[in-house]
Symmetry: D2
Subunit: 342 residues, 4 copies
C-alpha cells in the first residue's frame, strides 16, 4: 500500500501536481472485457469542472477544459485486464498568479505542512494538495462505474448538497431528491431556493468569504453482501474514501450522530429501516446506502494569489468526486466478494 494508492482489488494510483505537466491515474485490477465508455469519462470530467452545471458561475473561474487521454489498457473498446493509464494535461496553469506564494506559503492551506514534511515542495497552486488532484479520482471513478454497470446494472450513485452554509434542504426537499436533476441546480442544492444559494455564494465571493456545507451520497440498489470484516467493513472503507478528500471533516452513515439520541427500542424497531444506512455489521444489505460528508469553509479565501477567484463553497464541486470515490469502493468490494466463498 503506497501513499497515493487506493483499493485492494480494483487498485488505483494517482499522480500529478496542480501546476505540473499532467495529472493522471493508473488503474490496476479492472477485469478484462468491460465496455469502455469514453463518453461517460468525458461527462464525469465535465461534471467536475468548476461552473459547469446549473446556470451560474458560482465556483472558481479557472477553466480547465480537461481532455483525458487513455494511454493503455483499452483495445477495440474493451478493457484488457492490464493497467489502464489515463492522463489529463495541465493547460491553464497561470503560474504567474502563483509566484507570490514562493516565499510565503498560503495561509490556511497545507502548503507549509508539505514544505516541512518533505523538505521540498511544489508551491505553485498547492502542488498535489490542490483540489485539482481530484481529476484523477474522477477518471478512475468513471471506470469503476463502467465496471459496475456490467455487473450490477441497477446500482446508482447520487450526490447532492444538503447544506450550504446556513441553508439546509427541508425534509420535503430531501424526500424529492431522486426526482430531481441535481446538476441543473446551482450549488447542486436541489431546492426551489437555489437562486438564494447562488446569491449567498456570489456575496461570499465578493466579500472574500466562504461557506462550509454537507454533501449527501445515496447509493441506490447496491449489491448486497459487500464489505469485508473486520477492518474493511464497507463503512470504514467509505469513511476513508470520503475523508481522503480535501476540506472534509465529518462522515455519517444512516442516522449518524443523531442516532446517539435515539433509544435502542426505537432505533431498532424497523429492522430494514433507513436508520442503518443500508449497512449492517459493516456489510451492505442491498438496501439504499445513505452517507453524509461535512466540509469546512474553503481556506482559499486567505490566499492572496487567488484574490477573487476562490471557491466560495467546495461542496458543490466535491460531489462528483465523492461519487467517484463511492464507485471505486463499490468496484473494489465487488471484486473482493468474488472470493468470499469457494
Amino acid at each position: 500500500m503506497s501513499a497515493s494508492q487506493f483499493g485492494s482489488r480494483f487498485v488505483i494510483t494517482t499522480f500529478g501536481e496542480s501546476h505540473g505537466t499532467a495529472l493522471g491515474v493508473v488503474i490496476d485490477g479492472c477485469p478484462a472485457g468491460v465496455q469502455f465508455d469514453e463518453a461517460l469519462l468525458r461527462k464525469e470530467l465535465e461534471r467536475r469542472r468548476p461552473g459547469h452545471h446549473g446556470s451560474g458561475q458560482i465556483v472558481s473561474g479557472r477553466q480547465e477544459g480537461d481532455q483525458a487521454e487513455v494511454l493503455s489498457g483499452v483495445f477495440e473498446g474493451k478493457t484488457l485486464g492490464t493497467p489502464m493509464a489515463i492522463i489529463v494535461r495541465n493547460q491553464d496553469a497561470r503560474s504567474q498568479d502563483y509566484s507570490a506564494i514562493k516565499t510565503s506559503p498560503r495561509a490556511g492551506h497545507a502548503d507549509d505542512m508539505w514544505k516541512n514534511k518533505f523538505g521540498h515542495s511544489d508551491h505553485r497552486g498547492g502542488g498535489r494538495s490542490s483540489g485539482r488532484e481530484t481529476v484523477s479520482r474522477v477518471m478512475a471513478g468513471s471506470v469503476a462505474q463502467m465496471m459496475m454497470k456490467h455487473v450490477s446494472g441497477p446500482t446508482k450513485v447520487i450526490g447532492y448538497a444538503s447544506q450550504i452554509g446556513p441553508m439546509t434542504l427541508t425534509a420535503e426537499e430531501r424526500s424529492e431528491v431522486l426526482n430531481k436533476d441535481i446538476d441543473s441546480f446551482q450549488g447542486r442544492f436541489p431546492s426551489s431556493r437555489d437562486s438564494e444559494v447562488a446569491e449567498l455564494l456570489k456575496k461570499a465571493q465578493e466579500n472574500g468569504d466562504s461557506h462550509g456545507g454537507i454533501a449527501e451520497i445515496l447509493i441506490q440498489n447496491p449489491p448486497a453482501y459487500l464489505g469485508q470484516p473486520v477492518f474493511h467493513k464497507l463503512k470504514s472503507d467509505l469513511a476513508m474514501a470520503f475523508l481522503s478528500v480535501g476540506a472534509t471533516n465529518g462522515f455519517e452513515l444512516g442516522l449518524g450522530f443523531e442516532a446517539s439520541e435515539v433509544k435502542g427500542t426505537e432505533f431498532h424497531k424497523n429492522s430494514a429501516g433507513s436508520q442503518y444506512g443500508g449497512i449492517r455489521g459493516g456489510i451492505s444489505t442491498g438496501e439504499s446506502i445513505l452517507l453524509r460528508v461535512s466540509f469546512k469553509p474553503t481556506s482559499s479565501i486567505l490566499d492572496v494569489a487567488k484574490k477573487g477567484r476562490h471557491d466560495p463553497c467546495i461542496v458543490t464541486r466535491a460531489i462528483p468526486v465523492l461519487e467517484a470515490m463511492t464507485w471505486l469502493v463499490l468496484a473494489d468490494h465487488y471484486l473482493w466478494s468474488k472470493t468470499d466463498r469457494i
Copy 2:
C-alpha cells in the same frame, strides 16, 4: 491488504471468533528494540473488560478475565523486529446460552449478513462480528503505544464519553476533561452527573433498552507531519480505523459537521485554532488532535440469548478500543514518515 489486516508499516492481522478457541493478533512491522511493557498490555486489556472501571456494573456481565500470552517477537524484554503474536483464550464461552441462535439469526445483529455472505458462519455469540473481536485490537494498540513512548514520549491519547443517550457533557465539563481520571467515572463520562448516567443505563438494562452515544478521542502532543497524501491522510486513516469498530456510524475531526455553519472568515480567523482538529492538509500540525465518533444504540437488546446481559450502551467499552486504534494509526504513520525524505 487482506480483510483482517490494518496498517501499512506497523501492520496487524487479527483473528478469532467470539466463541472459538482463541483470539489474537500478529503484529508485523514493529521495529526491534522497543521495550516490551507487559504491565501496559495487561492494563489495557483490563480497561477493555466490561465493568472494570468506575464503581458500578453497568455493562455486560460477561466476565472475560483475559490472559494475554505472547507467542513470539519478544526476547529478554525487547521486541526483536520479528512478528509478534499475542493471543487470549476464550474461557467463559457459555455456548449453551447461544444455542438458541443456531436456527434463528439474531435480529439487529450482523449474523444473517455473514451467513448470506459466506454461506457458512459461526452463529455462536456473533462469531467474529462480536465485540469480543476488539480484544485483538487492544493488544495490538498497547504495543503501538509502547513503540510511540520510545519515539514520542509526550504523546498521549485520551478517550471519554461526551454523550450517553440524552446526557451530554457541558462545555465546562469538557474543558476539564484533562484533569480527570476518566476511568474512575461510570460510563467514562467525566461529569459530576455520573451517577445519573449509571441510573440511566441500569434502567435501560432492566427495560431491555439501550442507548447510543458519542466518544471523543484527544491526542495530546502528537508528532507533527504525520499523514501521507493523498489517500492516507491522517484523517482518512483515523476515520477508517474508527468506522471499522462495530456500531459506529459517524466521525468528526475538530469542529466536524458544525463547521458547515460557520463562515470562512470566522473559521479561519485563528490559524492555529482547534477548529482544524490538529490536522491540516491531512497532516498533523503537532497541535492536539480532536476526534469524535458516534455509536448507534446497541442492537443486542433484540437478542433473546442475551436477555438481561446486554450492554445498555457500547460507548463506554469502546473507548479503550478507539484509543488502541488511535495508537495503531500513529505508530503506522510514524514509521511511514521515516521515508518522507532522503
Copy 3:
C-alpha cells in the same frame, strides 16, 4: 506487504522463533466453505519432521512432535472465510544446548547478520532464521492444498531430491518418479541407490560434514491460466517462494540453465514440450510444471552447539516445505484469477 507476509489473495503471515513459545501462521483470505482436513494438516507436519520418512535416521535428531492447534477460522469442519490461526508450541527447546552461542554468533549462520541488522536478536537456535520457521509454511500450505482440492481436484504437487551431494538421479529414475512412493526413500531420493545415500549422509554426519543438493517439484494437472502479468508471473512468484526458503541458492523452470545451450529451432520444435516447464508468458498452460531448486551444503556443521546433531543435507527435509510453498502460490493465483475477466 509486511516482511513475514506472503501472497496477495490467499495471504499468510507467519511468526515464531525457534526457541520461543510457539510458531504459527495466520491465513487471511481463504474462502469460506473449504472442508478442513485436520488429518492432512497432521500428515504434512509429520512429513516435515526430521527422520520421519524412510527407515533411517539421516536427519537432525531433534524430535519435535509438533501438535498443531487451530485457534480460529474453522467451525463445524469448514472454513469460515475469517482468518485461520494455527500454532505449534515449542517443547523440545533444549535451550541449554544453545547457551554457548550467546556470546559467539554461530559461524556460517545468519545469526550475526540478524544481530547487526536489528540490534537485538534471539540467539537461541537461530531464532526466526532457524529452519524451524518452516513449520508455519507447512501448516499454511496444507490449508492451501485443502482449498485447491475443492477447486482443482486432479492437481498434485510432488517433490523429490534429484541430487544429494555427488549422487544424481539417472534419466531412467527420473522418468519413474511418479510411480514411486517418494517418502519411502531415505533422503527422498527415489532410486535403488537410496541406501548409498543413507550411507553418504551418515558418514557426513560422523565427519562433521554436509552436502548440498537439488530438489525438484512437479505440479501435475495445474489449473491453466494462472499467473498475472507483469510482475506476478507464475514463475516469478514461484521463484520468490522457493528462494525464501533457507539455504536455497538457485531456481530453474523447465530446462532452466541448460536451455542456454539449445538452439531456438530445436527448443521451440515442440510447442507443448516440457522444455517450457508448463509456463508460457508467465502463465500456466495446464501442462505439468517442473521446477528445480538448489541448496548449498548445510552450514550447521560449523555450529558447535549442534555438534553431532546437525542435518547433513537439508534437501530431504525441505521437500515438504517446497511443496507447501507451491500450494500457497497455486491457491493465491487461483483466487487471483477469479477476477481476470468480468
Copy 4:
C-alpha cells in the same frame, strides 16, 4: 499488491501495451529531495534500445527512439515525495506488420495464453507481454539508481552476458569483467571473441534461428543488512524480480546449482567467500552480490510477422533491464531497512 506493481516501499506500477498509445510507470514511495538526473534516465533508455551499444546491429531492427516525459513528482530538479509518472509514447508501431497475427496467435509467444486468460487481448506485437514492456522498468530503475546514489554512493550494478548460445566467458575473462566497458562489446559479452558472437548471432538471424544465454549481475558495495526475513529475503525478492522478466527460466545466487556438488567443509571454509554470493540468511553482508539469470532461446523466430526482424538472442538487451530490476530491489529494501529498529 496489484499485478503490475512491484516493491513494498519504493513501489512502482507499470502500464502500456507494445502497440498502444504509450508505456510508462508511476513510482510511489521515492522520498523527497532526490536529485533528478534526467541524463541518467535518457542514458539508461538508450542502453535498452536495440542495437545501441557495440558497433554492430545484432538485435531487432525496431528503432524505438524512446523519449521519456516526466509528468509529475519532480520540481526544480528534485523529487517531491509525490508519485512520479514517466511515460514514453509509441511511435514506430508498424501495426501493419502485425496484422497477420490477428487470426493466428504467434506460436511460442504468450499470445494465446493471454487470449484465453482474459478473453480479450491486444494481439498487436504481443500487447503487454512484449519485451517492450521493459521500457517502464528501465525508467523506474533509473530513478531507483538516482536515490541509491544519494544514500549509498559506492554501490554499483554491473551486468554482462556470461554465455550466449554455445559461447561462454572463460574464467580469465570473467575475472576481468570489472575492467571492461561492457557496452562496448557486441552482445555485451566482454571477451576478445566478441566478433565471433556477432557472427553467431548474424547467422542465427539469417537462418531464422535463435540462442539462449546467461546474464550475470554483479552488485559492488551494496549496503549491508538489506533483506527482510522471512519471505522478503534479499535473494527471494531478487529472484522474483529477475524471473518476472520475459524469457527467463533460471536464477542463481553465488555458486548456485554448482554448490550442490561441493562438500560443506569445503563450501564454508572461507566465511567471507564469494560462494555465498554476498547474501547470508537472506540479508546482504556488504560484500559483492553475484547473480545469474538464464534465458531460453527467443521464441520470436516462430513469428511470421517478425520475419527477419527477430532478436536472435535476448540476453544482450535484457541486461539493462536486469540492472534496473536490481536497483529497484535495492531501493525498496534500503527504505525498508529504515524501520528495522527503533
